[in-house]
């Protein structure tokens, strides 16, 4: 972090890679991509793929949930790219099937989501890149899916919904997934959700009385569990060519967890014997963190320090379009303009994502 010397370029002139753009796929949309018996199940079932959990995202109708902007590549182009100056949207399906109890059904949904993504969203504009959705209940099936679609040109990584998988994702049972991701040259982005938080980890979240509490905790807790598990189980050492990104929990949770892991690792090293360096070094070397939803300290400049600690070489710009807590690019950029060099700003807006997703900009 240094004093700004040159005047930063206006955001319209910056190349921006948005690490977190969601589709909003209805059950009906998936029907053509499912085989029997799942096709008929989807047609007839009232539950569908991802039954909602009963929470009111709209705050009694105060917030409008408008997903029209992600119904087609053309819609994404105008609602996100033109409106917010995003050049490269990294699109994930927001499939939540990794928390479903039925394994075969989840695997069928995983494949249908990927076929839909490839079929409808990635072959219109070269700048549109996608993450393949993986479900985790059957690791061998997820590894096969990586081999099936991982080499498609527009696929630049994998997306794992990490609220719900049990055991936590560093457990050795998942090693086939990470091995296949590494073999296919695809890094892995984790994304939690309040959906699923209702059913898992820890039980008490089922008794929170407001969605505010559920949503505040769902994302960072899911990531803290996943990150801790990946480190302590040594996944970062088993698959040194693999990198991980954590979407939609902002940044401030990272320094705390990183330093706490350092401390406990130094005391209990023999419980994590695969590790050859401090947790902090693995986190800095192999992990990225998406900016959205950018935290809002009362003293805005406090966040500059957080970004600085996490590292301008570890932060990915993301909007989370079109969800209700999405960030307009300026929410992050005002910090970057304020307190970081033009090079650091470019790293965050596009450079880190270019490395993580191996983009050819």
């Amino acid at each position: 972090m240094t004093e700004q010397i040159e005047r930063p370029r206006i955001i319209e002139d910056e190349t921006m890679v948005d690490a977190d753009v969601h589709l909003s796929i209805s059950d009906a949309d998936l029907i053509p991509y499912l085989d029997e018996p799942y096709k008929s199940r989807m047609k007839h079932s009232r539950l569908g793929a991802s039954p909602r959990d009963g929470w009111d995202r709209s705050v009694s109708g105060k917030i409008e949930e408008d997903t029209a902007g992600v119904q087609s590549p053309q819609a994404i182009k105008s609602a996100l790219c033109d409106e917010f100056h995003v050049d490269y949207p990294i699109i994930n399906t927001f499939g939540l099937m990794s928390r479903n109890p039925e394994v075969e059904w989840s695997v069928a949904l995983m494949r249908a989501h990927n076929d839909l993504l490839l079929d409808q969203f990635l072959d219109v504009y070269d700048e549109f890149k996608g993450l393949i959705t993986l479900t985790t209940q059957d690791p061998a099936a997820a590894a096969e899916e990586l081999d099936r679609v991982g080499s498609e040109k527009q696929i630049v990584g994998a997306y794992v919904h990490n609220t719900g998988p049990n055991p936590p994702l560093g457990d050795p049972i998942y090693d086939p997934i990470w091995a296949a991701a590494e073999d296919n040259g695809l890094n892995v982005a984790f994304h939690g959700s309040a959906n699923g938080f209702m059913y898992e980890f820890p039980r008490q979240n089922q008794s929170l009385n407001q969605f505010l509490g559920v949503h505040v905790l769902a994302h960072p807790w899911s990531h803290m569990l996943t990150l801790t598990s990946l480190i302590v189980e040594g996944v970062v050492e088993k698959f040194p060519g693999l990198e991980f990104a954590f979407l939609e929990a902002g940044l401030s949770w990272v320094p705390y967890l990183m330093f706490r892991l350092n401390k406990e690792y130094s005391i209990r090293r023999s419980e994590a014997p695969l590790l050859e360096k401090s947790p902090e070094e693995y986190i800095r070397d192999q992990m990225y963190f998406a900016s959205q939803p950018i935290e809002e300290p009362n003293e805005a400049s406090d966040l500059n320090s957080i970004i600085d600690v996490v590292g301008a070489d570890s932060v990915l710009f993301a909007t989370d379009y079109p969800h209700w807590d999405f960030d307009s690019p300026d929410a992050l950029d005002r910090h970057l303009r304020d307190a970081f060099t033009p090079e650091e700003r470019t790293q965050v807006l596009s450079g880190n994502a270019t490395e993580f997703f191996d983009l050819d900009l």
């Binding site: 705050v59 009694s60 109708g61 105060k62 917030i63 409008e64 209700w324 807590d325 999405f326 960030d327 307009s328 300026d330 929410a331």
Partner: protein, 123 residues
């Protein structure tokens, strides 16, 4: 420089409970009618610059807590007087421009007068 007066509409153009968003010198300005009183604000949210004046109008929920009985009472009031930014739902009191979600924040407002049925905003 003294503010200029802009005739933005006729009274009949904005019914009670309605709003009108107009362009004044390149800026979006919203004029709200609440019970025959007009309020004009910039359509530019203090949070992340979203189009706050295009959001839904609702009331809002407040609560009081009785320390003796340990009871919390919820009330819903000010129906139609609360503007919710469509981007992330920050709440604004249309009568004062005050933000309910973040204390100390207020939407910049402009004086409005009515003259012979014409609504005039000074800017």
């Amino acid at each position: 420089m003294a503010d200029e007066e802009h005739v933005v509409a006729r009274e009949s153009d904005i019914d009670d409970g309605e709003r009108l968003i107009v362009d004044i010198k390149g800026r979006d300005v919203a004029i709200f009618n609440i019970d025959g009183e007009y309020h004009a604000y910039i359509n530019w949210c203090a949070h992340q610059s979203g189009p706050c004046c295009e959001g839904r109008r609702t009331g809002t929920t407040d609560a009081s807590f009785d320390r003796e009985t340990l009871e919390q009472t919820l009330t819903y009031s000010r129906e139609g007087e609360i503007l919710n930014c469509p981007w992330h739902g920050w709440e604004y009191d249309i009568k004062t421009g005050e933000c309910l979600s973040r204390s100390g924040v207020r939407l910049p407002s402009f004086p409005v007068q009515v003259d012979e049925g014409k609504i005039i905003v000074s800017f």
